[in-house]
Amino acid sequence: MNEIAAAPAAVADAVDLREDFKSSGVAEILEELDRELIGLAPVKQRIRETAALLLVHRARGKLGLGDETPTLHMSFTGNPGVGKTTVALKMAGLLHRLGYVRKGHLVSVTRDDLVGQYIGHTAPKTREVLKKAMGGVLFIDEAYYLYKPDNERDYGQEAIEILLQVMENHRDDLVVILAGYADRMDRFFASNPGFRSRIAHHVEFPDYSDGELLRIAETMLARGDYGFDDDARAAMGDYIAARRVLPHFANARSIRNALDRARLRHASRLFETPGPVGAKELSTLRAEDIRGSRVFAGGLAHERKNP
């Protein structure tokens, strides 16, 4: 009764989408995304589209146009270190601003957090995690480990069933994001059709180009008040090209580790230098700090192709 009486009053004539875009704080998040994340153009495009879809959906709701809550579960596929977790965090903020999740926190889990070790352990464990994620976003990293086809008694299946059920029945309460390598996620979806049909947004994360990785390196350094000199920048460019072909290349994460080691060499070089050091020396990485890396010698001893 009340709803019917209240409905005409609540329905507006028109919704200003631009105004909505600004006032909801979505614009802010998208700007942040552009500013903080280098490259990833297709991902940013997808997020922009998703934001537009949700804004329009909200506007439709305001005008009283019937619409089902859109399915918001997503899958993020891409190689390690391409920013899946970072984007998921932004996504949680975005969904919160738009009012599709109530609290907007991100709970990041892997198989270990969901699957138990003995019979009867999995269900409570999975439910515990789901309860913590309610009102926010549940980010399952390397989701394909949940499903182990070679072991039919694996408890992962149980976790999958509970997840599917919650993804269906509690669509208003939480959003699930599955993440992992593209090829293994494809196989995971192929063997779990329930997941594929419940996930509307498949977002692919491309690898960074060498130029983007160099810019990422500089941003990372700038954050800690460090910097390259010109030679060091060239050395870092060579480093990225050399590192990419070695095994276990993890995009931005490899760069971060490389910079940590370069800072180590930088520190010990300064320590060896006699006399006082100024702020400039303390904050500038030189070519030799980068060139000292094992990558230029062909990687770790056991990774070298011709020893």
Partner: protein
């Protein structure tokens, strides 16, 4: 006889939305919410059964409501209460508790007074 203990027990029963709002308040204070149930509401019975563990690290009442629904399904004709535990040093105790489920027919209690030596009176509360 309507059992009155904890918060809100002189008010009409809380609706689910009201319960959700109360849980939201507890969570905003960083209290851990737990569920307890019993079929023995005697005032001296301070140990109710626990329904699972107290729920730490929740952010949204939906998680508690999920467990409450499960508890109600398993014990439809019992007393169920929510307790909110504050782990702040110095408190480390239950800060709030309220009944969220009652049996259809609530038991009544009678008080018997026994005169003993002098003017002393012993009081006993027993189920009618």
């Amino acid at each position: 006889m309507r059992i009155t203990q904890g918060c809100f027990s002189f008010l009409p029963d809380l609706t689910d939305d009201q319960i959700r709002a109360q849980i939201d308040y507890c969570l905003s204070k960083d209290w851990a919410v737990g569920i307890e149930f019993t079929d023995d509401p005697h005032p001296r019975n301070i140990f109710w059964e626990m329904w699972g563990h107290p729920m730490f690290d929740l952010r949204d009442p939906a998680g508690v409501m999920l467990e409450l629904a499960a508890c109600r399904k398993a014990n439809p004709d019992s007393y169920i209460k929510l307790i909110a535990f504050d782990s702040t040093r110095g408190f480390e105790t239950v800060r709030m508790s309220f009944i969220v489920n009652r049996p259809k027919v609530e038991p009544s209690f009678v008080m018997t007074r026994t005169e003993v030596a002098g003017r002393t009176v012993n009081v006993a509360i027993t189920r009618a």
